[in-house]
């Protein structure tokens, strides 16, 4: 934002509670009303809300796949091969005559899982590594950072391909691979946030009050690290959906028939001339989900900023 506005903006915040009479005490906001405030913040951010709704719908559909899927995802009906989107098959059918919508719904189970689960796992590990390296510094930090530097020397996709290629295809391996390639990036974010929080005077105040290091880390540093990590994790979820799809596209995902979105694009690739929609529909979904995570990340950033809590 512009600095003139910021100049006044700060002022504006500072002044916002100046009007009340000193004797009059305001009722303390309840936990529920604070939750309501947060919800209003999120709802105001239309892009984030749209992202959240899209993700919720897809996740719900994937979880309830046996109930909501119109067809068996693997049932092949040769009569409808290459069927264009329309009645009957809402999103058309693929080269083997399988219903694309049903395959998307079932595939969502794998694709969402391979994006979200490794991100969460990596976040936990990175939180630990980054807090220790960033707060204590010194040799420990040096070792951690030099090790991470090695990972940063690889383009992230390449590292994924290398590990997946060596470990072999399969859901479990894919999750492991994505977790491993995420850890360096998330650790770096946690470490940076930790270091900047450690420099703040409130940490000195805590030390002056007699707090031990572990108490300072938990009480003062951690709350300031979790928020940026969550925001970053949301964005990375989107990116990892892309990476997972890429691996599957490359033939390194879970083996058929449990089709995920990347694999659907890959099979659609061979019939691109006859029926472009077979590859394009899952492609669009992949991009939409990645975007949704991005919007969600932006929304989280605003939501978790203490300044929005009025």
């Amino acid at each position: 934002m512009h600095d003139q506005l910021a100049q006044i903006g700060i002022q504006e915040r500072e002044l916002s509670i100046s009007h009340e009479e000193p004797e009059h005490e305001e009722p303390e906001p309840s936990r529920a009303s604070r939750l309501a405030t947060r919800w209003r913040v999120l709802a105001r951010d239309r892009a984030a809300l749209a992202g959240l709704i899209l993700l919720a719908v897809i996740a719900l559909a994937a979880i309830l796949a046996p109930l909501v899927s119109p067809y068996d995802p693997n049932a092949q009906t040769s009569a409808v091969r290459f069927a264009r989107p329309g009645a009957g098959h809402l999103l058309g059918a693929d080269e083997a005559g399988r219903d694309i919508l049903s395959r998307l719904i079932w595939g969502g189970r794998v694709s969402l899982f391979t994006g979200v689960a490794p991100t969460l796992a990596a976040a936990v590990i990175s939180l630990l590594l980054g807090l220790i390296a960033g707060y204590f510094g010194g040799v420990l930090d040096q070792i951690t950072m030099r090790t991470l530097d090695i990972f940063f020397a690889f383009p992230i996709v390449l590292l994924a391909i290398l590990f997946a290629g060596v470990l072999g295809a399969g859901l479990r391996n894919e999750v492991i691979v994505i977790t491993v390639i995420l850890i360096p990036y998330m650790t770096r974010v946690v470490r940076t946030a930790t270091m900047s929080s450690r420099e703040q005077e409130y940490v000195e105040a805590a030390r002056a009050a007699g707090a031990a290091d572990w108490q300072i880390v938990l009480h003062e540093v951690l709350p300031n690290v979790v928020s940026p990590l969550l925001v970053y994790a949301a964005v990375l979820c989107g990116l990892m959906i892309l990476v997972a799809a890429g691996l599957s596209f490359f033939g390194l995902g879970p083996p058929p028939p449990s089709a995920d979105w990347g694999q659907m694009v890959n099979t659609g690739k061979s019939v691109l001339f006859e029926a472009p929609h077979v590859a394009m529909i899952p492609s669009i979904l992949i991009v939409a989900v990645a975007l949704a995570f991005n919007f969600l990340g932006d929304g989280l950033r605003d939501l978790l900023d203490p300044h929005t809590l009025r």
Partner: protein
């Protein structure tokens, strides 16, 4: 001085200077270079000087927030630097700090109530109900409303945030508080509120202050004694009255000249120094002030002046401390 609550003995803090990527030389920044003073219980000592003179570092050394390179701090005659474990924790309860920046000194993620309560919880001072009651009491004491406990720091103005910082500092019923530029980021009208509050609390609880400031107006208002620092060393030390009325060091004289009277804008004593303060990483040899001193003589470039009594109880580190008062009374423009 038997009544000294806090005593600093020849404190030194040298930071190694990593000379960029090229040289890992043995150069050091002598941020604090041999500082000694004592503060009597119930009085206020002001550390005065420009940025980079080591006054904030001294304040942190006093609380053992950083470890000194050499020297020690005594509290009630016991060496703070030899303490460890529970003994150190108990000593920490006696001493607190109020920071300059009311933004970075309060954790934005915690409510004000949590910020004030946490030190008490750390020391196990009562159960949750008692602590919560005490937080409300403290908020009232510093001029905020008890209902403010649930708000976050960003919902307050600079002055109000500084009040929160003060409430946190007195929560443990400490006896000694370091005030590190407590009002320099505040407007004058708010500064007056905070200064009044600090004086009230001092009278009410018999607090002892170390006031770190570059503002001589504030210092003169608050302090019993003044220590003037230049490049890591104390160059003048004495009671507030004697220093303000008759400085014995030309640097103090120059600092006083920088105070502009609000009504006529007149300078009390006119002495304007040339140049900027030297880099603390390479302080000038002998008398560190000689590069900017208008009265410099050969001896100043060769022999460091000792900090010795110019009058009883009034120390100055200047070879010509005896002659400075004449310059002061004579000097209108630069000599």
């Amino acid at each position: 001085m038997s009544t000294a609550l806090i005593e600093a003995r020849d404190l030194k803090k040298h930071y190694p200077l990593s000379g960029g990527l090229f040289s890992r030389s043995a150069r050091q920044v002598r941020a604090v270079d041999g500082v000694s003073f004592s503060i009597e219980a119930g009085s206020t000592l002001a550390l005065v000087g420009e940025s980079g003179c080591g006054k904030s570092t001294t304040g942190r050394l006093l609380l053992r927030l950083i470890e000194p390179t050499s020297g020690e701090v005594l509290i009630d005659g016991h060496s703070l630097n030899e303490m460890a474990g529970r003994q150190l924790r108990r000593a920490r309860r006696q001493m607190q700090i109020v920071f300059q920046d009311p933004f970075s000194s309060l954790n934005p993620r915690h409510s004000v109530g949590e910020i004030i309560a946490w030190p008490m919880r750390l020391h196990g001072l009562g159960n949750e109900t008692a602590i919560r009651a005490r937080v409300r009491e403290l908020l009232k004491l510093v001029g905020l409303q008890p209902g403010h406990a649930d708000r976050h720091p960003h919902q307050f103005s600079g002055g109000q945030r500084q009040r929160v910082g003060i409430a946190r500092a007195i929560a443990l019923e400490s006896r000694f508080i370091v005030l590190d530029e407590p009002t320099s980021s505040l407007d004058v009208s708010v500064q007056a509120q905070i200064l009044n509050l600090l004086q009230e609390l001092k009278n009410q609880f018999g607090l002892t202050y170390l006031l770190i400031s570059h503002n001589l107006g504030v210092v003169e208002y608050m302090a019993n004694d003044i220590a003037v620092m230049y490049l890591g060393q104390i160059v003048e030390y004495g009671s507030a009255e004697t220093i303000m009325s008759g400085p014995r060091h030309p640097y103090t004289h120059a600092l006083l000249s920088a105070v502009l009277g609000p009504v006529t804008g007149e300078r009390r004593k006119r002495l304007i120094l040339h140049g900027d303060p030297p880099n603390p990483a390479s302080p000038p040899p002998a008398c560190r002030f000689h590069t900017r001193c208008p009265y410099v003589q050969d001896i100043c470039r060769e022999t460091p002046p000792p900090l010795e009594a110019a009058d009883p109880g009034h120390l100055a580190a200047c070879h010509f401390a005896d002659q400075i008062p004449q310059y002061v009374s004579r000097g209108e423009r630069n000599p």
